[in-house]
Subunit: 104 residues, 2 copies
DNA sequence: CATTTATATACGTTGATGCATATATATGTT
DNA sequence: AACATATATATGCATCAACGTATATAAATG
């Protein structure tokens, strides 16, 4: 799951993911919307594919790429586990407030 | 927010974050729990600090590092935006099911 | 079957990043 | 003030990953 994060963090791959989140696209569509060459797009798609983040569907000569939900679910869950962070801080703030009250 | 992701994706920084999530720690505590040298830990903490992911509190010679909640909240929200992915798939599955029923 | 369109791969170059070693700074202790 | 502890920074080196160019494969079309 940590390697998933690494894969997503690369700026171009991040942009590809943002585009694919809206709707599946062919390689050429991605090339037009990004500012990198076709070989780079193909290469990043390959990396995303090997990481299990996208799936491919053939349509004539085109390859239509779309996002694979599972890894994103996992990361979503991981980031949820940080919610304790701000909840604890809120608790601390509340006990600070009740201390104030006691003093008054 | 994308740069935040990039900062987190580095394996050692990821581990540091996992440790700090449990509780704040001094540099030396982190050094003992990770398999890298003190200068590297300090360097990664600096990067995390500049990215606004951690805060420092001095305690004698020690520097106690802890996580800053905001950026994690942001990423949590970003990954939530992917939930549409699997919900849509679920919708498709459901309409597929109701199609089956109609045919029967 | 030759050509066009769509995509993938190979290769060399370059820039970024992490590490180890050495050193600097800051605080505490005697 | 001298020394010890805790942390930060500087530097040189090695590795890795992304890019561009060129080329290969695959499918459609005339």
């Amino acid at each position: 799951m940590q390697s998933t994060l690494f894969t997503i963090a690369e700026p171009n791959r991040f942009n590809i993911i943002e585009l694919l989140k809206k709707k599946p696209r062919s390689v050429n569509e991605l090339v037009k919307e990004l500012n990198i060459g076709q070989p780079q797009v193909s290469r990043h798609l390959r990396i995303l594919s090997e990481a299990g983040l996208v799936r491919v569907n053939r349509k004539a000569q085109q390859r239509i790429y779309s996002l694979e939900p599972k890894p994103f679910q996992e990361l979503d869950a991981w980031f949820d586990s940080f919610s304790q962070l701000w909840e604890e801080r809120l608790d601390q703030f509340e006990s600070y407030l009740s201390n104030l009250e006691r003093k008054e």
